[in-house]
Symmetry: C2
Subunit: 195 residues, 2 copies
């Protein structure tokens, strides 16, 4: 059992937090592994999310379709990322996002109930989760600011720096809408950078 926990993907997730090995024995069993095939949906618009996920391997994107029918990538996820839709999970609201696997994926799922219970009872877990969730919220906020303040090229360079594995594994058109530009423009930006 101990060895099993030590090898566990979630062990690496919780590694740099103050969570003890004893606590891990309580925490890790609350997570269950879920595998998604390429193109599977984790969540579809209108559903209520009652759980959230850690992505161990694979790539996932969330997107919305706006009133004019544009498919816009709202977020891109790679190994180690948390996949969560806040209003859905915290306020039981039907989501407006679609979350879809871009490749085969291995995820670790936890229900909101289990999350809440541990959040209340295990201070180290609380601290770790707090940091994680805040981080993921801020990333979205900063991306939104970047759409206003930065050039497309700078946004691309930032993404390259922060999430190189995304750049290498997600198709250009999805990255483009995430960055708020067309695939044509992104292709040109790539060319410019490579020279």
């Amino acid at each position: 059992m101990d060895e099993k926990i030590e090898q566990h993907f979630l062990n690496t997730v919780f590694a740099s937090s103050g969570i003890t090995k004893e606590e891990l024995k309580t925490i890790i069993p609350k997570y269950s592994q879920v595998n998604f095939d390429k193109n599977d949906y984790l969540l579809k618009e209108g559903q209520v999310e009652k759980k959230y996920w850690f992505l161990e391997s694979g790539f996932i994107r969330s997107y919305v379709v706006d009133t004019e029918g544009n498919d816009i990538t709202f977020n891109l996820y790679g190994s180690g990322d948390v996949i969560i839709d806040y209003p859905s999970i915290f306020f039981f609201a039907p989501t407006r996002e679609n979350i879809q696997a871009l490749t085969d994926c291995v995820c670790w799922e936890i229900t909101f109930e289990d999350f809440q219970e541990m959040f209340n009872c295990i201070p180290n877990y609380r601290e770790q989760q707090r940091g994680l969730l805040v981080g993921s919220y801020f990333a979205l906020k900063e991306h939104s600011i970047s759409l206003i303040a930065d050039q497309a090229k700078d946004r691309y360079l930032k993404l390259m720096k922060d999430k190189p594995h995304i750049i290498q594994n997600v198709s250009l058109k999805h990255i483009a809408t995430f960055l708020g530009i067309t695939d044509t423009s992104l292709s040109r930006i790539r060319k410019e950078i490579s020279s």
Copy 2:
């Protein structure tokens, strides 16, 4: 006492929900009136928000200063809006926003503790708050999508439709950064629309 409650600004806020008069007698006393002068800060970057507000009258903006020193308006608030910073209040994280009164303001403040207690104990309150908070979160999300998918002119028209009082009372430069454009461009958009 009853009359006092009926005239109350918060009464109008809760009016269209299923909240009963009896419940209002519990709820309203948890809110306290706070007045801000023009230019006062409700929250400064780095602080932890332990409460949130309803804005009865006046105008407020939240902004961030990005790495290049640009002042970017993140949100604009008018009468009836909720002023809240999610990660700060739900995860006790230091905020990255500055929230500042643009005019003298009358606000109604509630602590997170009181909010939580009533959220748990009063189902009608829970429903009402859920709708409110989800709405305010979605508005930000849709704004972010609009920055990608829509022309600046369309964003302006949308704001004009949704929050005409903001257009009329907030300075052009703040509206411009909120819409993700320069004040020069917004001035031209206004001219174009008026003709």
